[in-house]
């Protein structure tokens, strides 16, 4: 059971990556600081990110993903059976070249300790993010499996164990990030199958985040979410989190057209812009969403991760999101808080 107000607020996952952290990571690779020091730095930065979210007034807190160079390598480095070429990337946020030459063995990815730090340093509800199998399969050079789908299904099989371990450790909201769906709409049917394999039997609320990319703070694709339907309706998840602030709310009508049973994590903050939204702009986005989704099924989020925003801007945007949400909460009857049972999976 999650104890949340109506229209709960959160960032999608990552928080602003400080420039000094990027440089310290480079120092680590140049052997100027030790792994022990780097881990302490990560812990300190994570605690600061948690605190910033709390002060801004968010209802659900993430760890800010400050340990992650990007949403791919953090996971692939942990997969036994995935070979990484560590000389293959020049810049912090780039991807390593990775390759699979044999069947992936079952193994723990060791994500639970990162979740525990988050759990131990906030009293609020938490969300922990995992990059989904479709995205990971797209970044790996496959020299073993007969197809990308087969690779994704095996990635899902290994990661399913990890999700169950996270749920056992107390994770009640897990978000699967699938930023490549929009770039490869032709994959959507098998992508949903691998998503379902990933979350099968996991005792937690599951959100899936689908965006148009955020590499270096820029979109990777343009288009409409229409490609998701009807395939996404088969996804065994509770929540879709989609970006609407930057792209506009036109695609919200898909929720009227297809009437999915999912909750909607609605992006109301444009993380690719350095203009800070006003609370009224945020409120307007939420009002538009309320036309197609009932309030108890709406989560108020940023469009995507804040990793490429300067910290002061990220913080100001979070505050605007919270203030804008408060405006709408009052308008819909002042239900400051509500208890939402974990939905039964379809």
């Amino acid at each position: 059971m999650m104890n949340l107000p109506i229209l709960p607020t959160a960032i999608v996952g990552s928080y602003a990556m400080p420039g000094w952290l990027e440089r310290l990571k480079t120092d680590y690779f140049s052997r100027r600081i030790s792994r022990h020091d780097l881990d302490e730095i990560y812990d300190a930065a994570t605690k600061a990110a948690i605190k910033d979210q709390e002060i801004a007034g968010l209802d659900i807190i993430t760890d800010g993903e400050l340990r992650r160079d990007n949403n791919v390598d953090y996971f692939l480095e942990r997969f036994p059976g995935v070979q990484i070429d560590r000389s293959s990337k020049k810049f912090y946020y780039d991807f390593y070249d990775s390759i699979v030459r044999g069947k992936l063995p079952m193994a723990s990815l060791g994500l639970v300790s990162d979740f525990r730090l988050l759990r131990d340093f906030t009293q609020r509800e938490t969300k922990f993010n995992i990059t989904g199998p479709h995205c990971l399969a797209k970044r790996i050079r496959n020299q073993h499996y007969p197809s990308e789908e087969a690779l994704a299904m095996d990635l899902a099989r290994v990661m399913n164990l990890e999700l169950k371990a996270l749920a056992k450790a107390g994770a009640r909201l897990l978000q699967i990030d699938e930023p490549y769906y929009s770039g490869f709409p032709e994959d959507i049917n098998w992508a949903v199958r691998s998503l379902n394999a990933l979350v099968d039997g996991v005792d937690a609320k599951i959100a899936v985040h689908i965006c148009y990319g955020n590499r270096y703070g820029k979109p990777s694709w343009e288009g409409s979410y229409r490609y998701l339907f009807p395939a996404i309706l088969d996804a065994k998840v509770h929540q879709l989190t989609l970006e609407f602030a930057r792209r506009g709310g036109e695609d919200l009508d898909l929720f009227t057209e297809f009437k999915p049973s999912f909750e909607l994590g609605v992006g109301v903050i444009d993380v690719k812009s350095h203009e800070v939204e006003t609370p009224e702009m945020v409120a307007e986005h939420i009002r538009r969403t309320l036309e197609v989704v009932p309030p108890e099924k709406i989560y108020v989020l940023t469009d995507c991760g804040c990793v490429h925003l300067p910290r002061d801007l990220a913080f100001a945007k979070m505050q605007a999101m919270v203030q804008g949400t408060q405006i709408v909460r009052k308008e819909i009857g002042g239900r400051a808080a509500t208890v939402i049972d974990r939905p039964v999976r379809a």
Binding site: G19, R23, K90, F91, Y93, D94, P185, E186, Y212, G213, R215, Y216, G217, K218, P219, S220, W221, E222, G223, Y227, K272
Partner: protein, 486 residues
């Protein structure tokens, strides 16, 4: 002492170098140069640059520390092409005297008319001349009887090469076809040309693209939205006839090449293809010198040699003391001085021919305080310099860099930026020589530090490649090609 020889005049270089060495030794023996100063001195012969340039016969450059205290002369540049037989020693002594005078605040030079105080190259008055040229291009062309392109090496713009344009249109068509196959073709396909020139390139490109579209049975052409951007309204008007057949697809925009985003922010992430030819080389620049592990910022001061001031006064029937005033009026846009427009333009051309730059080096003690152009900061520059030569001079290419970083956000995720220009592609290439600023007709010309552009873009998530321009033998231009990194 280090003597750097360039390779412009192989036949006379050996004897010129011998003359320089002999002269330097005699100046050392006579005490004009101290022993310590001699040990640190670097002398460069025949800086590589355009024939029409801003350089004096001998330039002695003194350094200043971060507190503004002068240090001895560090660099001497000698243009042996300008040295009159038997005059090297006198020219060097004069250059030394000028450097000493500059180091004494309040001392006004007597052999030259300064047009400004020492400052960054990018703020120099020479860029006002450049601006005037583009704003009054027709006046200049009427006076010279030739079009701008005729001044270019080869007599025409490489941007107009028909086969290059045909290949570009074909490549773009294929790109659109791929997007269509993935159901990702936008309903409107935006293209931006920065610096339209005569409009010839865009006109030819559209002719070819329409032809391909018809031949191959697609309907991409009607989706095109062509944005022709230029700093000068007059140039935009001149470009219109060249795209007349496609004018319904075209919009003509007054646009600052240094900040396309300012005009076009509503098209962020929407433009599929941005192109420019010979624009970056004409944007304000500044220079940095790395010497003995320290970084120095190059400050310049534009001047007219007093002998030229006297000549100009005589030729235009005025007193030498009023020349400065006439130059100021000229830069306010008054090209009709001295009785007629033709006469006024003659004055403009003669002044431009006479303008030169002197320089000094100011040490950057604290790099983070340096006013970096957008996209660059101390950390990035420090990283770049780790791999760079220890003693060298390089362009910061501030204007080009700002234009670049303020264009990239306009690119559609599948879009690309193509810039044809004169690029220094690697910092290491500066070992081979520094390409100084030149005068091209009434405009200013600078080589562009492509290595900095590449580094900045790569850090921001773009891939940058350079390719030689293969369509004209001997062309010094290359093509910078930028896309979002997958």
């Amino acid at each position: 002492m280090i003597l750097k020889l360039n390779h412009l005049q192989e036949k006379v270089a050996a004897s010129a170098a011998q003359d320089v060495v002999a002269t330097i030794y005699s100046l050392l023996e006579e005490g004009h140069i101290g022993k310590e100063q001699f040990a640190r001195l670097q002398i460069e012969l025949d800086w590589i640059q355009y024939k029409q340039n801003f350089r004096d016969v001998v330039i002695a450059t003194e350094g200043y520390n971060a507190q503004g205290e002068p240090a001895p002369i560090m660099d001497i540049h000698i243009d042996t092409r300008q040295v009159q037989p038997g005059c090297l020693r006198v020219e060097m002594l004069n250059a030394f005297a000028r450097a000493k005078a500059r180091a004494n605040p309040g001392t006004e030079p007597v052999d030259r008319l300064p047009l400004e105080g020492f400052q960054s190259m990018r703020s120099s008055v020479v860029w006002e001349f450049n601006k005037l040229y583009w704003n009054k291009l027709k006046d200049w062309q009427d006076a010279t009887g030739k079009r701008y392109e005729q001044s270019l090496p080869g007599g025409q713009s490489d941007g107009h090469q028909p086969q290059a344009i045909a290949d570009s249109a074909d490549e773009f068509w294929n790109r659109m076809r791929n997007l269509e196959a993935r159901n990702q073709l936008p309903s409107e396909i935006f293209l931006l040309e920065i610096g339209v020139g005569t409009g010839t390139r865009m006109g030819l490109w559209l002719d070819k693209f329409r032809e391909l579209d018809r031949e191959r049975g697609t309907a991409f052409y009607p989706k095109l939205r062509i944005l022709l951007g230029d700093y000068a309204l007059g140039t935009l008007d001149m470009s219109r006839p060249a795209v007349n057949e496609h004018v319904d697809l075209c919009s003509f925009l007054v646009l600052d090449a240094q900040n396309p985003l300012k005009t076009l922010s509503f098209l962020r992430y929407k433009i599929m293809y941005v192109h420019s030819t010979n624009v970056y080389d004409n944007l304000p620049d500044e220079e940095v010198v790395r010497r003995d592990g320290r970084l120095y910022f190059v400050q310049v001061r534009a001047y007219i040699p007093m002998s030229e001031v006297v000549r100009l006064a005589a030729e235009f029937g005025t007193a030498p003391e009023t020349i400065r005033q006439s130059v100021d009026r000229l830069l306010e846009g008054r090209v009709d001085q001295f009785g007629s427009r033709a006469r006024g333009v003659d004055f403009w051309r003669e002044v431009w021919k006479a303008v030169r730059l002197e320089e000094r080096l100011v040490q950057l003690e604290d790099l983070p305080e340096f006013p970096f152009p957008e996209g660059l900061d101390a950390a990035k520059l420090e990283d770049m310099l780790e791999q760079a030569p220890s003693d060298f001079r390089f362009h910061l290419s501030s204007g080009a860099l700002e234009s670049f970083v303020r264009t990239l956000p306009l690119l559609h995720p599948r879009g690309f930026l193509e810039v044809q220009d004169i690029f220094v592609q690697r910092l290491d290439d500066y070992r081979l020589g520094f390409y100084g600023p030149g005068k091209l007709d009434g405009s200013l010309l600078n080589w562009v530090n492509g290595a900095i552009l590449k580094e900045v873009a790569e850090r921001a998530g773009y891939d940058v490649h350079f390719a030689p321009f293969q369509y004209r033998k001997g062309s010094k231009t290359s093509v910078l090609y930028t896309t979002r990194r997958d």
